[in-house]
């Protein structure tokens, strides 16, 4: 008999704060959009940096870390080294995220403190993952993705801390030298490679897909990993051609990964279009548009194209992939804790029964509309569209928060 992981579901009280805090940060990030002037958007402005950290640290990282508490044993097929460490991760990440956001907005002196707190939180996370990986006897491709992505996260947060120290004036060097290295390590190296690896376990699991080749994933992960390393080298040693080679490699990596997702989608036996499936369809469609708009940016050179691509990457691809999976992960964890002991003794709900239909659909429709409107606002420089998009996203994010609380409190 083949043994599979034993400790699949850590206590829900350990993971619930990640999802609650993460969903609230999704709402805060959506509300924050009201404060942008669509005619004066720029990557360099502190308001933008605060927004990016609010969204990526407070929402994306918070939810990914919480989800990993449950998914690591599923993917690595061994129990956690010390799952209790996750009790320390979310409060530190919460405090660090807030310090960084307020640091960018009001007082750069807060940035090193926020950076150190985030660093401690992430080091605990990365350390726990690495120590868990020591138990793994044979690395599969998906397990390798966890190893690679966490290695990039380790370096990404070191770069980030150095930048925070320079931003606050504690260290003296040009922040721009490390900017791309930090961005690519964390976003390309950690978030994208984590998504690549985990989605190839989760998407087929929920769609019941089988018998597809993992070659495109191997190509995608390898190219993306090399691309991130090239960007780091090009940043540190100012080699611009290497950076362009890296961008091209990252582009091909995403195409290869998208091809695999498309194959899984086309061959899936489970064709019902629930909120999970629809969220993923929107997410991967957004990813395709990121590639198109990103390519246009390199041809035309307009900053608004790069801003629109980044926006779609964050609120289109990342956000919908995360919210879609939340509708699978929270019901499972709650069901496992509350209802699995009752199986065979009384009627128990199915996982799909635990997803609130109206608020999940409202979240999907309002958030998707908001994402499209804000994309148009960025491209056209329209404050009217920005306000409209922000309004839709705020309603969508409130519906998401409501869904999260409904699922957590399901009785």
């Amino acid at each position: 008999m083949v043994k599979i992981s034993q400790d699949f579901a850590p206590p829900f009280k350990l993971i619930a704060p990640f999802f609650i805090v993460g969903s609230l940060f999704y709402f805060f990030s959506s509300f924050y959009l009201f404060f942008f002037d669509a005619t004066m958007l720029s990557f360099a402005e502190p308001k933008m940096l605060a927004f990016v950290h609010l969204f990526l640290l407070g929402f994306v990282m918070m939810i990914i870390f919480g989800a990993m508490a449950q998914l690591v044993p599923v993917v690595l097929e061994v129990g956690h080294f010390g799952v209790e460490l996750f009790y320390a991760i979310w409060p530190l990440l919460l405090i660090g995220s807030l310090l960084m956001v307020f640091g960018f907005l009001y007082s750069p002196a807060l940035l090193p403190y926020g950076g150190v707190v985030v660093l401690i939180s992430m080091m605990i996370f990365v350390g726990e993952i690495f120590l868990t990986m020591f138990k793994v006897e044979k690395l599969t491709l998906v397990m390798s993705s966890v190893l690679i992505s966490n290695t990039f996260l380790f370096f990404g947060i070191i770069f980030g801390l150095l930048m925070a120290l320079a931003y606050a004036g504690t260290l003296s060097f040009d922040i721009n030298v490390l900017l791309k290295a930090h961005v690519y390590s964390v976003i390309g190296g950690y978030i994208v490679i984590t998504i690549m690896g985990l989605s190839i376990v989760l998407v087929p699991m929920f769609t019941l897909s089988h018998s597809f080749s993992l070659k495109p994933l191997e190509i995608g992960m390898t190219l993306m990993s090399v691309a991130v390393v090239f960007v780091i080298i090009s940043s540190l040693f100012n080699i611009s051609w290497l950076a362009y080679l890296a961008y091209a490699m990252a582009f091909v990596a995403m195409i290869s990964y998208f091809y695999l997702i498309y194959v899984i989608y086309k061959t899936r036996p489970r064709k019902e279009n629930d909120v999970y499936a629809l969220s993923l369809m929107f997410s991967y469609s957004a990813m395709l548009f990121v590639l198109v708009i990103g390519a246009l940016y390199f041809l035309v050179g307009k900053e608004s194209y790069l801003l629109a691509a980044a926006w779609l990457l964050f609120f289109g691809f990342f956000a919908f992939l995360i919210t879609g999976h939340i509708y699978k992960i929270i019901p499972f964890l709650v069901w496992f804790e509350k209802f699995s002991p009752l199986v065979g003794k009384q009627k128990v709900p199915m996982l799909a029964d635990m997803v609130p239909y109206k608020s999940s659909q409202a979240q999907l429709i309002y958030s998707a509309t908001g994402v499209l409107l804000v994309t148009a606002a960025i491209l056209l420089g329209s404050n009217l569209l920005m306000g409209a998009g922000a309004s839709f996203l705020v309603i969508g994010s409130l519906a998401f928060v409501r869904s999260v609380f409904y699922m957590i409190n399901f009785k």
Partner: protein
């Protein structure tokens, strides 16, 4: 002489529902074989829809408990195999239809 036929054992196991898809394990085609001897020892051979199934241990326990409810069953051995790999063609038509695969 077998205490229970394969059909009787499958019927007992069909009370176990996969909470993710909402169908029982037998109609999903996850139960490959079941047999018993005259002393009440039962052997069930089954698979799961994915190796990464987070309910792996729990589903095995449910199968064991479902068979143990049959009178005079002494011991239940549940073996999980990955060959042949499960695919939707192994499921009953009502499952395929409900999932949109038919």
């Amino acid at each position: 002489m077998a205490m229970y036929t394969k059909e009787e054992l499958f019927k007992a196991i069909s009370t176990v529902i996969d909470p993710e898809v909402g169908f029982n394990l037998v109609e999903m085609g996850l139960i490959y074989d079941a047999s018993s001897d005259d002393e009440g020892n039962v052997k069930v051979t089954m698979t799961l829809s994915t190796k990464a199934c987070p309910l792996h241990q729990m589903i095995l326990q449910w199968v064991k408990e479902a068979v143990e409810k049959l009178p005079n069953v002494k011991d239940v051995d549940v073996e999980v195999v990955w060959e042949p790999e499960w695919n939707i063609s192994m499921a009953d038509d009502n499952v395929k239809k409900a999932l949109g695969a038919l």
